[in-house]
C-alpha cells in the first residue's frame, strides 16, 4: 500500500492505496466522487476526464499514486455553491446531452479547452473534444453548448474556470 495525499475539489484527502488503483476508482470508491464515470477499457471515451493540476486527463489512465501531491477537479467541483459553472449552464441551455453518460467528461474537457482558447471556432471545439465520445447527441448540441459557454464566459466575469 502507498500513502497518498490529494486535494480534490478543494478538500484535502489522505489515504492508503494499492499502487494498481486507477485514479478514477479511487475517486469513486474511496472518496465517493461518483460524478466521474468509466466508459471504456481503452482510454478512448473520455467519460472519466478530470482536471489534474488544472489540465484535462483521463482519470482511468492515471494511477492514484501518480496523483499524490496534486490537485484534482471533478465535475462535482465545478459549481460554486448553487451557482453552476458557465459550461454547465450552457450544456443545460443548449440541450448538450441526452443520456448524460458522457457529460461529466465532456464538460471537463470543455473547461480545459476554454481555459486555453477562450474563443474557439467550431472546428477548434470539435478538435478540442476529440478525446470524448458521445453515443447519443451526434455532437451538434455539444458543440453549440461549448460555443455558448465561451460567450457566457467572455460576457460575465469568468468564474470558476481554471
Amino acid at each position: 500500500m502507498a500513502h497518498i495525499s490529494v486535494k480534490v475539489d478543494g478538500t484535502s484527502y489522505q489515504g492508503e492505496v494499492e499502487p494498481r488503483k486507477l485514479l478514477v476508482h479511487w475517486l469513486r470508491e474511496d472518496i465517493g466522487r461518483v460524478g466521474t464515470v468509466v466508459g471504456c477499457d481503452t482510454s478512448n471515451c473520455g467519460a472519466c476526464t478530470v482536471l489534474l493540476n488544472g489540465r484535462s486527463v483521463k482519470s482511468c489512465s492515471v494511477l492514484a499514486v501518480q496523483a499524490d501531491g496534486c490537485e484534482v477537479t471533478t465535475i462535482q467541483g465545478l459549481a460554486d455553491g448553487n451557482d453552476w459553472h458557465p459550461v454547465q449552464t450552457a450544456f443545460k441551455e443548449c440541450h448538450g446531452l441526452q443520456c448524460g453518460y458522457c457529460t461529466p467528461g465532456m464538460v471537463m474537457a470543455a473547461v480545459d479547452l476554454l481555459s486555453e482558447n477562450p474563443t474557439p471556432s467550431e472546428s477548434e471545439i470539435r478538435e478540442g473534444l476529440e478525446g470524448n465520445l458521445c453515443r447519443c447527441t451526434g455532437y451538434h448540441n455539444i458543440v453549440k453548448s461549448v460555443s455558448y459557454a465561451a460567450d457566457l464566459m467572455s460576457a460575465g466575469p469568468a468564474k470558476g474556470a481554471k
Binding site: 486507477l22 481503452t42 483521463k58 494511477l63 499524490d68 476529440e130
Partner: protein
Amino acid sequence: MIPVEFDYVKATSIDQALAALKSGGEDSKIISGGQSLLPVLRLRMAEPSVLVDCGGIDEMLGVRDDGDSITIGAATTHHGVMSNSLVQKHALLLAQATATVADPAIRHRGTTGGALAHADPASDIPAAALALDTSFVIAGPGGRRTVAAKDFFLDYFTTAVGPDEILVSFSIPKCDWGSSYSKFNRTAQAWAIVGVAAVVNVQGGVIKEARIGLTNMAPTAVRASTVEAALVGASSPADITAAAMHAADGTRATSDLHAQADYREHLARVITARAVRAASGI
C-alpha cells in the same frame, strides 16, 4: 479492468530509477505518462512486478537550447513539446507531428520520449524523429551512450533502449527547412493508417535536400531514401509527384483491419507528395 498487483517506485533521479529497475529484475518496467502502458495493464496484456515512475525526474523534463541543437527531456509531455517555443522555432516538424497524437487529455499525460521508447509502428513521433536526424541519450548500468536515429528503432516495439536502461533525452539539430506532418486516418483521435513526416530545404524555388520519414509502412518508422534522392532539383508539383511515386520502395507495409498493404503503399505515394508540397510550398 484492473491491472495486476505491482510495486511502485517514484524515482527522483536517473540513478535511483536505474537502481530500482535493477532490483526489480526482469519484470520491472518504466512508466512515464502511462498513456500506452496503462491501457495495456488494464487489458492485462502485461504483468510487471515493479513500475518505476520516471515522470518526475527533473533532468528528463523540459527543452533546452544547446546552440546547434535543442535537447528535449524524454519525460516532457506531448503538450509540453508541441507548445514549446524552441521546438516551434527549431524543430517545427516535431510540434506538427505531436499535435496529431491522440487527443488533448492524452497529450497532457503522454510523453514524447515515452512514444519514442515504446516505438509503436503507428506512432507519429518516430517518423518525425528520423526526418529530423534525432540522436538519443540512453542511461544504463554501464553509464550513458548516444545513439543515432538510424540505429535507434530496431523492430516492432523494440529500440536500442535495453530493459535495464532509460531514455533520458533526445537532441535535434536545429532545422529551419519547411516542414509538414501529413497523417491519414479515418476518425478523430485515431492512429495513422499512414503518416509522412517531411522537412525540405528549398532555395530559389528548387529543392536542394529533403528528409522524409514514414509512419506505419514497416515494423519501424523508416526513411523514404529513394524519394529523398529523387527530390533533389525538383521545382514543380509534377516533379514532386514523380519523386513521391517511390515512397513505397523498400517498405514492408502490413495488412490489418484498417487497411490492406497495397492500399497503404498507394497512400504512402499520395501522402508523401502532399507532405512535400506543403513543406516546400511548391
